[in-house]
C-alpha cells in the first residue's frame, strides 16, 4: 500500500507525513498481531468466513468422488463459470479503490451491455462473424457506459457517504425503467421480439448464430477432441474443456487494471479511497477521480455481461440483471476484499471460491442426500458475506 502511494506525492514533507501515518497504522496492526499466536494471526489475516467457505469447498471436493460425482466435469464447470463471471467481479475493483464502496449499482453497467448486445443483433452485425458481432456489441455498449457512468459518478459525488444504499436503488430503478423500454423500444429483429405482436423483446434471447462462444471458442482446449483426433484415450482428462479465449480476455483486463492502479492516476485513486482528505490536500481532484472510477466500473460491468452472455449463450432481459448483483458483490468479498480495499487477487480467489461453491454444492448435495439445498446455502453464504463485510470495523471507513 505505502509503496504505491509515493508516486503522487510532489513535496517531501507531504511524503513524510503520509509515510508516518502509514507507519503508525502498520505498527498498530503489527502490535496487535504480536499479541496473538501465529495461528490466530493467520486466521485473522484470512478471515473466519473465508476460512469456513474454503473449508466447505475443500470438503465438497474431498467428498465428491465418494458420492459418485464426476470431479473433472465439475472442474470444467468451475473454470467455465469463472470465465463467465470474472470480468463482472473485476468491475467492483475501481469503485472500491476510490472509496465509493461496493458497487451495488452494477445493473447500470449490465444494462449498457444489454443495450450493446441487443443493438448488435438488431443491426445484423453477425455478418462480421461471431467475434465481429461481439466487438460491435462492445463498441455500442461503450458510449452508453461512458455517459451513464458519468451521470452516475456525478450523482455519487453529490451523496458521498451514502453511496451503497443509493447505488442499490439506482440499480433497481434503472432495471425497472429498462423493463418498460424493452417493451417500448422499436426493436424488430425477428430473433428477439415476441412472435405475434412484434413489439417488445423476449425475456431470453438465444445467441446461437450471433456471438455465442465467440471468445470461449478462441484457442479452446478440448481434451475430448484432442483424444478423438489422435485416437488415444486420455482418461479423466477428456472431461476437461478450457475456454482459453475468455480466460485470456479476463487476464488482459486484469493486467490492465493492475497496471492502471500503478499509474499516477491509479495511485491517486487508491489515495482517494483510503483517505479522501489527505488526497485533497495532496492536490488530487477527488470528484474527478471518483467519477473516473465509476465510469471504469460501469464499462467493466458492460464488458462483463457481454463476456457472461457469450459463455452462457443467452441474453437475459427484464429483471434478470437483478440476480447478478449480490453474487458478484459477495464474490469479491469472499476473495478477501474489504469495503474500501480490493486487489486483483481478491477477484480471482473470490470468483473461484464462489463459483466453486455454486457448482459443487448442488451436485454433491444431490448425490448425497437427494435434497437440493444449494440455493438456500448460496443465499446464506453470499448475503452473509456481504453482511460480514458491512459490519466489520475496519480502518478508514466512514
Amino acid at each position: 500500500m505505502s509503496e504505491k502511494k509515493d508516486h503522487n506525492l510532489n513535496s517531501p514533507s507531504k511524503f513524510n507525513d503520509e509515510m508516518k501515518t502509514m507507519m503508525s497504522k502498520r505498527q498498530v496492526t503489527e502490535l496487535e498481531k504480536k499479541q496473538m499466536s501465529p495461528l490466530q494471526a493467520m486466521i485473522a489475516d484470512y478471515g473466519v468466513p473465508r476460512m469456513i467457505i474454503t473449508g466447505f469447498l475443500l470438503l465438497l471436493f474431498v467428498m465428491a468422488p465418494f458420492v459418485g460425482v464426476n470431479l473433472p466435469m465439475q472442474i470444467t464447470n468451475i473454470i467455465n463459470r469463472f470465465s463467465w463471471n470474472a470480468v463482472l467481479v473485476l468491475a467492483m475493483v475501481p469503485m472500491i479503490h476510490s472509496g465509493c464502496g461496493l458497487n451495488f449499482g452494477l445493473p447500470l453497467g449490465v444494462i449498457c451491455g444489454l443495450l450493446g448486445g441487443t443493438l448488435s443483433i438488431q443491426f445484423g452485425f453477425e455478418r462480421f462473424g461471431a467475434m465481429g458481432s461481439f466487438l460491435m456489441a462492445l463498441l455500442i455498449a461503450t458510449p452508453f457506459a461512458v455517459v451513464f457512468g458519468l451521470g452516475y459518478g456525478w450523482l455519487l459525488n453529490k451523496i458521498k457517504g451514502g453511496e451503497m444504499m443509493i447505488a442499490t436503488y439506482v440499480g433497481l430503478s434503472i432495471i425497472s425503467f429498462m423493463c418498460m423500454m424493452w417493451l417500448l423500444l422499436p426493436y424488430n429483429s425477428p430473433t428477439m421480439v415476441y412472435g405475434l405482436s412484434a413489439n417488445g423483446l423476449r425475456p431470453t434471447i438465444s445467441l446461437d448464430g450471433f456471438y455465442n462462444q465467440s471468445l470461449a471458442s478462441f484457442l479452446r482446449l478440448d481434451f475430448a477432441e484432442i483424444a478423438a483426433s489422435r485416437g488415444i484415450s486420455l482418461g479423466w482428462l477428456e472431461y476437461i474443456k478450457i475456454p482459453t479465449g475468455s480466460l485470456l480476455v479476463f487476464a488482459l483486463l486484469a493486467v490492465l487494471m493492475w497496471a492502471f492502479l500503478h499509474t499516477k492516476t491509479g495511485t491517486a485513486m487508491t489515495a482517494v479511497g483510503s483517505n479522501p482528505n489527505f488526497a485533497r490536500a495532496a492536490g488530487i481532484n477527488v470528484d474527478r477521480i471518483r467519477t473516473l472510477s465509476v465510469v471504469m466500473s460501469t464499462w467493466l460491468g458492460a464488458m462483463g455481461i457481454l463476456v457472461y452472455q457469450q459463455g452462457f449463450g443467452f441474453i437475459q432481459l427484464y429483471t434478470s440483471p437483478n440476480n447478478l448483483t449480490m453474487p458478484t458483490v459477495s464474490a469479491i468479498l469472499i476473495g478477501g476484499a474489504l469495503v474500501n480495499k480490493a486487489t486483483i487477487g481478491n477477484v480471482i480467489i473470490g470468483t473461484i471460491l464462489f463459483q466453486g461453491m455454486v457448482t459443487m454444492t448442488p451436485t454433491v448435495m444431490n448425490a448425497m442426500v437427494h435434497m437440493d439445498m444449494s440455493e438456500v446455502i448460496r443465499n446464506i453464504v453470499s448475503n452473509g458475506m456481504i453482511l460480514y463485510a458491512l459490519t466489520r470495523k475496519q480502518e478508514g471507513t466512514k
Binding site: I166, Y169, C179, L184, G200, M371, M373, L390, T391
Partner: protein, 376 residues
C-alpha cells in the same frame, strides 16, 4: 408560525411546495392517471379503503427506527417473516376465524422479537450504514434462513400435520397456503357498508389504537431517548442514554409491530404466498411512507396516511393508465414498480445531499467562528 407572518404569501407557498414536492407530484400523477384508467369512483374508494386497512399498520411500524435515527427499516420484512411462520403453524393447527388471527398475532411476537433482536444487534455493529445492512439482512433472512426453515425444516423436524399445506414430497410448505377460513374476519367485524363501499371499522380501530400508542410513546422517557439518539448519538451517550440499547429496542418494536401488521395484511388477502409474501412488503411500505412526504430522518403519522392513499391510488390506476397510453398493460405494470423504486431513490438522494450540505454548512460556520475568534 408567527415568525413567518412577515414573509409574503407567495414565498411561503413556494416554500410549502418545495417541502412537499413529492406528495404534490404524486397527486398530479394520480390526477392525470385516474381519468385514463376509467374506474368508477366507488370502485376506487372501495379499493383504497381496503388497502388502507391492509397496509397502514405495516407502514406505521417504520416510524420507530426513523425516530431513533436509523433511517428506513428495510429489515421490517423480518417481522413479516415472523408473522408468516406463525400463520403457517396456526393454519396447520386448523384454528380459524378470530381466534386464529389472535393466536397468530400472539405467536408472531416471539418470532419477530428474536428476529428483531438479531437485526438490531447487527445494525448496531454497522452504525452509519444501517439501511444497506438492513436491506442485505432482509435477503439473508428471507432467501436464506426463512426459506431453509419453511422449505426443509418444516415437516421434517417441526411436525406439520396437514398434507394440504405441505409439499407432496413430504416436507416443506406449499407455495401458497390458503387462509380462506381466516379471510377478512377482522375486517368483517363491525364492518359498515355505505353505498357499496365496505369500511373495515375494526381494522381501523386497531390502526387508530396503534397511532395513539405512537403518540403516547413519543412522550415517554424511552421515546424521548430515541429521539435524542436520533438527533445525535454522541450527545445522547454523553447524557447517559444507553445508545445501543435504545436503538435495539426501536428495531425490535418495529419488527414486532410489523409482525402484527403482517397478520392483519394476510387475513385481508386470504392466502399466504409462502416464499414471496414478505419480499415486496418492505419496499412498498417504504415507498408509501416516502410518497406521503416523509424523509429518511423525519416521518409522521400523517405522512403514513397520505402516503398509503397516494401510493395505492397510483398502484391501482397505473396498469390501466399505462395500457391506455401505450396499448400494453405490462408497461403500466412496470411503470408502477419503476415509480416506487424511483421515489425511494430520489428520497435517499435528497436525504444524503441535505446531510452533506448541513455538514459543510456547519464546517463553514465553525471556520467563520474561528476566524472571528482569531481576529479578536
Amino acid at each position: 408560525m408567527n415568525q413567518n407572518n412577515n414573509i409574503p404569501l407567495s414565498k411561503r407557498a413556494v416554500e410549502l411546495a418545495r417541502n412537499n414536492a413529492v406528495p404534490i407530484m404524486f397527486i398530479i400523477i394520480c390526477a392525470i392517471f385516474i381519468p385514463m384508467a376509467g374506474f368508477t369512483p366507488s370502485y376506487l374508494i372501495n379499493e383504497i379503503i381496503t388497502r388502507m386497512g391492509r397496509n397502514l399498520f405495516l407502514v406505521l411500524c417504520l416510524l420507530f427506527p426513523i425516530m431513533a435515527g436509523m433511517g428506513m427499516n428495510f429489515a421490517m420484512t423480518l417481522g413479516a417473516m415472523g408473522a408468516e411462520l406463525a400463520i403457517i403453524l396456526v393454519a396447520d393447527w386448523q384454528i380459524w376465524g378470530i381466534p386464529g388471527v389472535v393466536l397468530a398475532m400472539i405467536l408472531s411476537i416471539p418470532f419477530s422479537a428474536i428476529l428483531g433482536l438479531v437485526c438490531g444487534t447487527i445494525l448496531n455493529m454497522a452504525k452509519g450504514r444501517e439501511m444497506i445492512t438492513g436491506y442485505i439482512l432482509n435477503f439473508f433472512m428471507g432467501n436464506g434462513i426463512y426459506q431453509m426453515i419453511v422449505l426443509y425444516i418444516m415437516g421434517s423436524i417441526i411436525p406439520i400435520a396437514h398434507a394440504s399445506i405441505m409439499l407432496p414430497r413430504g416436507y416443506g410448505i406449499r407455495n401458497t397456503v390458503s387462509l380462506l377460513n381466516m379471510r377478512q374476519c377482522l375486517d368483517d367485524l363491525l364492518a359498515i357498508r355505505i353505498q357499496g363501499v365496505k369500511i373495515p371499522v375494526f381494522t381501523f380501530i386497531l390502526v387508530g389504537l396503534f397511532c395513539l400508542f405512537i403518540v403516547w410513546f413519543r412522550r415517554t422517557k424511552l421515546g424521548q431517548d430515541m429521539r435524542a439518539v436520533g438527533q445525535d448519538m454522541e450527545v445522547a451517550r454523553a447524557a447517559g442514554i444507553k445508545v445501543d440499547r435504545t436503538r435495539l429496542i426501536s428495531i425490535m418494536m418495529s419488527t414486532v409491530f410489523a409482525g402484527i401488521g403482517m397478520v392483519i395484511y394476510l387475513q385481508n388477502m386470504g392466502n399466504l404466498p409462502t416464499y414471496t409474501g414478505h419480499a415486496q412488503i418492505g419496499m412498498f411500505c417504504i415507498a408509501a411512507l416516502l410518497i406521503g412526504g416523509a424523509s429518511v430522518d423525519k416521518a409522521s403519522i400523517g405522512n403514513a396516511f397520505l402516503g398509503v392513499i397516494l401510493f395505492h391510488l397510483m398502484f391501482i390506476v397505473a396498469p390501466n393508465a399505462g395500457g391506455f397510453i401505450t396499448g400494453d398493460s405490462m408497461v403500466g405494470e412496470y411503470f408502477r414498480v419503476f415509480l416506487s423504486y424511483g421515489i425511494i431513490t430520489v428520497a435517499l438522494i435528497m436525504y444524503e445531499a441535505k446531510k452533506r450540505m448541513n455538514k459543510s454548512k456547519a464546517g463553514q460556520e465553525l471556520a467563520q467562528a474561528q476566524k472571528e475568534e482569531g481576529a479578536r
